[in-house]
């Protein structure tokens, strides 16, 4: 019995916590006039679907395409450059590897909003701002690469070293053992971490806002910010926009929830 009381409380807590998400969807479904009713209605009296209208009017296809390009580009760089580094940092114990790991951990904490000033100035000087989306991809990859390395490293540390040694004795080279033994066995961690990095980049804002001036190249976050403007009154539209934007993210999250939790906690929680 006690278990079910606890369960009821747990559902209550989750409900309270996730209320903002609920409110986003409900507001998106309300008609313009119902929004400004006080007290507010907790379930829309008349359903009002403005998904298509918002999608077309705001050219969301363009925004989301740009978000996707930035997220895919950053994730590709990070996976290509970071996986091997995570592996080496997990395998080799030496003073130099400790230094490299420490440097990585330090670069993990640099806030984007503080790094953007020197990045903007230096990118401007070498002409990278001519390709603003590429500039965002490069900067964002540098921002999340350390996090990817640290999380992937724990995934590689869970692969027994003896398996690779067996592969070496069986006739493989270091490189072969890395690709045929270490990577396949750590693929769960690599996959989850890549998804996390992808989702983070999909919602990137600071770099895009600062480096991309041309509206047609901006991602969905910047689009949302300019849609909101300083004094918006179209909250139904803003919430619809938000819902369109985050629903794919939430679907990925629900599908991978267990793996994400265990990837973040190095398997300590499921």
């Amino acid at each position: 019995m006690k278990k079910y009381i606890l369960l009821a409380f747990a559902i209550l807590f989750v409900g309270i916590y996730l209320f903002p998400l609920y409110w986003m969807y409900v507001t998106g479904l309300k008609a313009g006039s119902e929004i400004f009713r006080f007290p507010p209605t907790f379930w829309p009296q008349t359903l009002h679907f403005n998904v298509v209208d918002i999608w077309v009017r705001l050219r969301m296809d363009r925004f989301l395409t740009n978000s996707l390009i930035i997220a895919l580009g950053a994730t590709a760089i990070i996976v290509a450059v970071g996986t091997g580094c995570a592996y080496a940092l997990a395998r080799v114990r030496s003073i130099w590897m400790d230094v490299a790991l420490f440097a990585t951990l330090m670069m993990q904490v640099l806030p984007s909003s503080l790094m953007i000033t020197p990045i903007f100035v230096s990118f401007n000087m070498v002409g990278l701002l001519e390709y603003p989306r590429l500039a965002v991809v490069l900067a964002q990859a540098a921002k999340l690469l350390p996090l990817y390395i640290v999380l992937c490293r724990t995934a590689f540390m869970q692969v027994p070293r003896e398996l690779e040694e067996a592969a070496l004795v069986d006739g493989n080279s270091r490189m072969g053992a890395f690709f045929q033994i270490a990577v396949p066995l750590a693929r769960n961690g690599i996959l989850v971490t890549s998804v996390l990095v992808f989702l983070q980049s999909f919602g990137e804002y600071v770099y895009s806002r600062s480096l991309i001036g041309e509206r047609a190249l901006q991602p969905a976050t910047v689009g949302l910010q300019s849609f909101m403007g300083p004094n918006t009154s179209d909250w139904s539209g803003v919430m619809t926009y938000s819902a369109i934007y985050v629903t794919p993210i939430l679907i990925v999250f629900v599908l991978l929830q267990r793996r994400i939790v265990s990837g973040l906690t190095a398997g300590a929680l499921k």
Binding site: P160, L163, A166, V169, S173, L185
Partner: protein, 363 residues
């Protein structure tokens, strides 16, 4: 056994920073022999084995396999096979894929791999399990896959790194015999690392005892048991362990006086009277008898029965352990007589801990 050397180590040294893991190791392993490297943990036996595999690089000396110098040669070019303590089976491959991994790396034709897998499965009793994954196998079956993966290679040498330590006691005894009979059939050179002296004694043709990176003694198993070169080997080989007692050579020079026990034991050689020695008495060499007819009289503190044998511990300082096959009618607190044949008394120098050879050359 052919006398051709398959593995030769000359003055091999290994340092890890300040730590000197292997010190001037000289070892020759004849083709087709079964050699056990044994010693307490941290003695360097695993480091030596891993150096043979090429998983560790040596800091000095030369290492040859089948006459070829191996210093700096990567593992994949050494043509040795290794069985790991954890078996190191690739969890994402089936038994068949595990067995044929090395052949596939060498791009051997599919039919050849399949035939080899079948043959090895027959030898190791894995016929029914070829399509299983390692996680679906029992401990003993995993052990066999690890063996099979080595056998399929037909390598220049087999290296075993404590392969039985993850098995329960009964299975361990069984696999011990199985590995040995496999070796007798294949006649491949094998190097076997273990911390269990019983495994080393029962399986190997040649036992190498290591401590702190030094070879303390090497030889045939019974040679080590009968003539341990020093106190460490004497204490390490044999179970239960040898009793050590401080003693002095008697005035006549042909007996020793055991300190703390007030007993005189005749010895089979002549030593300088008054010399301090360390006497080594194996528990199984001590014979129980009536107190008045025996050279040592002891009060017994604890008697343990295993059914087949009895273990008696004395109440004296130093304590003596006595092994008696069968049962004894001795109770705690009783005084018993113990004697030992003169030729079975081992003597060591108390300072150098080396075996004391007879001055007359009778040994």
């Amino acid at each position: 056994m052919t006398s051709m050397a398959q593995i030769e180590l000359e003055h091999v040294d290994k340092h890890y920073g300040q730590f000197h893991a292997l010190k001037d190791i000289n070892l020759t392993i004849p083709k087709g022999s079964f050699v056990a490297l044994v010693g307490p943990s941290g003695c360097g036996k695993s480091t030596l084995l891993r150096s043979l595999a090429g998983l560790e690089s040596i800091s000095g000396g030369t290492m040859k396999i089948a006459g070829e110098r191996m210093n700096g040669v990567p593992p994949r070019r050494r043509d040795v096979a290794m069985v790991f303590q954890s078996y190191a089976l690739y969890p994402h491959m089936t038994v068949r894929e595990n067995l044929t991994y090395s052949m596939r790396l060498n791009r051997r034709p599919k039919e050849e791999c399949e035939k080899a897998a079948k043959d090895v499965a027959a030898i190791t009793g894995l016929d029914e399990l070829l399509d299983r994954y390692p996680r679906q196998l029992s401990g003993g079956q995993r052990q066999r896959v690890a063996m099979g993966r080595a056998i399929i290679r037909d390598p220049k040498a087999f290296l075993f790194d404590e392969p039985l330590s993850n098995l329960d006691a009964a299975l361990r005894v069984h696999m011990r015999k199985e590995i040995r009979s496999l070796h007798d059939r294949l006649r491949a050179t094998s190097v076997y690392v273990t911390h269990d002296q019983v495994e080393a004694m029962t399986m190997a043709d040649h036992v190498v005892v290591l401590r702190d990176g030094i070879i303390e003694q090497q030889g045939a198993p019974l040679e080590l048991y009968d003539h341990p070169a020093n106190r460490f080997v004497a204490g390490f080989i044999g179970s239960p362990a040898m009793n050590f007692i401080d003693a002095a050579v008697s005035e006549t020079g042909d007996a020793i006086v055991l300190e703390g026990l007030d007993a005189v034991l005749p010895i089979d050689r002549r030593l300088q009277p008054g010399r301090q020695v360390k006497a080594g008495l194996r528990p199984e060499h001590l014979r129980l008898g009536a107190p008045e007819n025996s050279s040592i009289r002891l009060e017994i503190a604890v008697v343990e029965f295993t059914g087949a044998a009895s273990y008696l511990s004395s109440a004296t300082d130093p304590e003596l352990t006595i092994f008696h096959a069968g049962r004894v009618e001795v109770k705690s607190g009783e005084v018993v007589g113990v004697s030992i044949a003169p030729e079975l008394v081992h003597l060591f120098d108390p300072v150098t801990e080396e075996r004391i050879l007879a001055q007359s050359g009778s040994e």
